[in-house]
């Protein structure tokens, strides 16, 4: 089974603008999705410095950037990704789903600058 990988930015701006709530909800999500979804924190994804109109908090769902993330939005993205995993949908399809996702070529950590 392919897993959905969620990376939550724990930098200052993200944490203050809603990241704290996302981090606080992890236990309930683990209870809900079990081992299908893996959560990871990162000191800074770096998007707040160069995102223009986009807003913190930022989260990566399978490498796709989600901005202005709320718990509802994250659940929606993860559910889409879980569906996509089941259907083995391509990442291009995933990018077209709702949720203001921005595709990133490199996935993983941003440079921070």
């Amino acid at each position: 089974m392919k897993k959905v990988h969620v990376t939550i930015c724990a930098g200052t701006a993200c944490y203050v603008l809603g990241g704290a709530e996302l981090l606080g909800a992890i236990d309930s999500w683990i209870a809900k999705w079990g081992e299908q979804v893996e959560f990871e924190g990162t000191p800074c994804l770096g998007f707040c410095k160069s995102a223009g109109e986009a807003k913190a908090p930022y989260v990566l769902v399978n490498g796709l950037v989600v901005e202005h993330t709320t718990a509802e939005k994250l659940e929606e993205m993860v559910n889409s990704a879980l569906l996509g995993t089941e259907e083995e949908a391509s990442s291009a399809d995933a990018a077209a789903r709702p949720g203001n996702a921005i595709t990133r070529k490199d996935g993983g950590y941003a440079s921070g600058r």
């Binding site: 724990a10 930098g11 200052t12 990241g19 981090l23 000191p43 440079s111 921070g112």
Partner: protein, 407 residues
């Protein structure tokens, strides 16, 4: 911090002062007071005073005594006169018709010469190379001025001693709550006693030759409390002065103003001789990227107020920046002990700072515009101000040596 200019081989010779205290069971405030400060001419003065009785009334007597003794010693007022000033200043207890507070005063000059003046506290201990040595004491008799001391129980006899500290020396002093701990119990009918404390201190130092002043004071008080059945029968206070090799801590916070200096930041990080904290997500990302080191974050231990800690090879602690450092400064201001707080990134930083003597801040000055967003639900202080506040508290309240370098 004492850096003896005429002893370059002891450039890192550091005077660490730590204390620990518990109030008498059932009292909301301590009747013992410990004060330490650094004078303008670089001397360090520490005073432990035990006020008559317990609670607020004792605390007032002890606070007055400790404050006057510290102030007079800082102003180089002779000890006889200092003692008279204290005697005349203390309010007389309405029940007992006496005014009384003991004290132990330790005055350390910049050449590590120590003067200790004791009044009615248990005798202090001097431990040199792990062995207790007996300092020569001279007696000084003081009356309130002229004849009989109205309100004071008897002419005061002070004990004065002077010596030059050597590397590794420890001066340990405490209130009688330590020596009388366990008194009346089957095992220790006369209490722990000076001999018992001596054996305990020897054992602690034998187990850990570099035990910090703060840790030794904490262990002595905790053991005394245990002997009292976890309900202190008196205020229990211990202070330790330790002449040790300086423990260094470098705190890296904030990205450099120019990205061209990112590699310089990483170079400073790897060349730091002591322990290191990286406080800032971007800062950690830059150092990790420059050194090719992975940063991992532990999501198992989350705190409702602060972002979780992360880890990276070579760093003793990796945290978020502004929120965590501001919280650490709050803890320092409150005089909080990290052991007694909910464990989070700021208590981890606090512990590292308290367990260090020389703290260097490397502060990147690039401002994150996202932090200036007026929609921020909390006001984020500017990094420079947070660091200045930390350095001010560490220097003034904890007698640490700090430097701030902007990048």
């Amino acid at each position: 911090m004492i850096e003896s200019e005429n002893k370059p081989m002891h450039a890192d010779f550091f005077v660490e002062i730590g204390h620990w205290q518990v109030a008498k069971y059932g009292e909301t405030s301590e009747g013992d007071v410990f004060i330490s400060r650094k004078t303008e001419d670089g001397r360090i003065i520490a005073v432990l005073s035990d006020g008559l009785g317990s609670g607020i009334k004792a605390g007032v007597l002890a606070a007055l005594t400790a404050t006057i003794a510290t102030g007079c010693s800082a102003a180089r007022i002779p000890i006889k006169r200092t003692a008279r000033i204290i005697m005349r200043s203390l309010p007389v207890c309405s029940e007992r018709k006496i005014s009384y507070a003991t004290f132990t005063l330790v005055d350390i000059d910049t050449s590590n010469r120590i003067k200790v003046v004791e009044y009615d506290n248990p005798a202090y201990m001097l431990v040199r190379q792990g062995v207790e040595v007996e300092p020569l004491r001279s007696m000084v008799s003081v009356t309130k001025g002229g004849g009989r001391i109205a309100g004071h129980p008897k002419p005061a006899t002070l004990r004065s001693s002077r010596f030059k500290a050597e590397f590794g020396d420890r001066v340990i002093f405490f209130s009688d709550g330590v020596t009388q701990a366990g008194m009346g119990s089957r095992n220790l009918p006369l209490g722990w006693g000076l001999e018992g404390v001596r054996r305990f201190v020897s054992q602690m130092i034998a187990e850990n030759a570099e035990i910090s002043a703060r840790d030794l004071a904490r262990r002595i008080v905790t053991w005394a409390l245990l002997l009292d059945g976890d309900q202190a029968k008196d205020d229990i206070t211990c202070a330790v002065v330790y002449f040790r090799a300086a423990r260094r801590l470098a705190v890296f916070t904030g990205p450099p103003l120019h990205p061209a200096h990112d590699n310089e930041l990483a170079r400073l990080f790897v060349s730091s001789p002591g322990r290191t904290i990286i406080a800032g997500g971007t800062t950690a990302t830059i150092i990790g990227r420059e050194l090719g080191r992975k940063i991992t974050m532990d999501l198992k231990h989350r705190d409702p107020e602060l972002p979780p800690v992360a880890s990276m090879e070579g760093a003793d602690l990796v945290t978020e920046g502004i929120l965590t450092l501001s919280k650490t400064a709050d803890y320092l201001e409150q005089g909080a002990a990290p052991e007694e707080l909910r464990q989070n990134a700021a208590t981890a930083a606090l512990r590292l700072m308290l367990d260090s003597d020389i703290i260097e801040f490397f502060v990147g000055t690039k401002i994150n515009e996202a932090h200036q967003d007026p929609n921020m639900p909390v006001e984020l202080d500017i990094r420079r101000n947070v660091v200045k506040r930390l350095a001010h508290l560490l220097e003034g309240k904890y007698l640490k040596q700090t430097t701030i370098r902007y990048i």
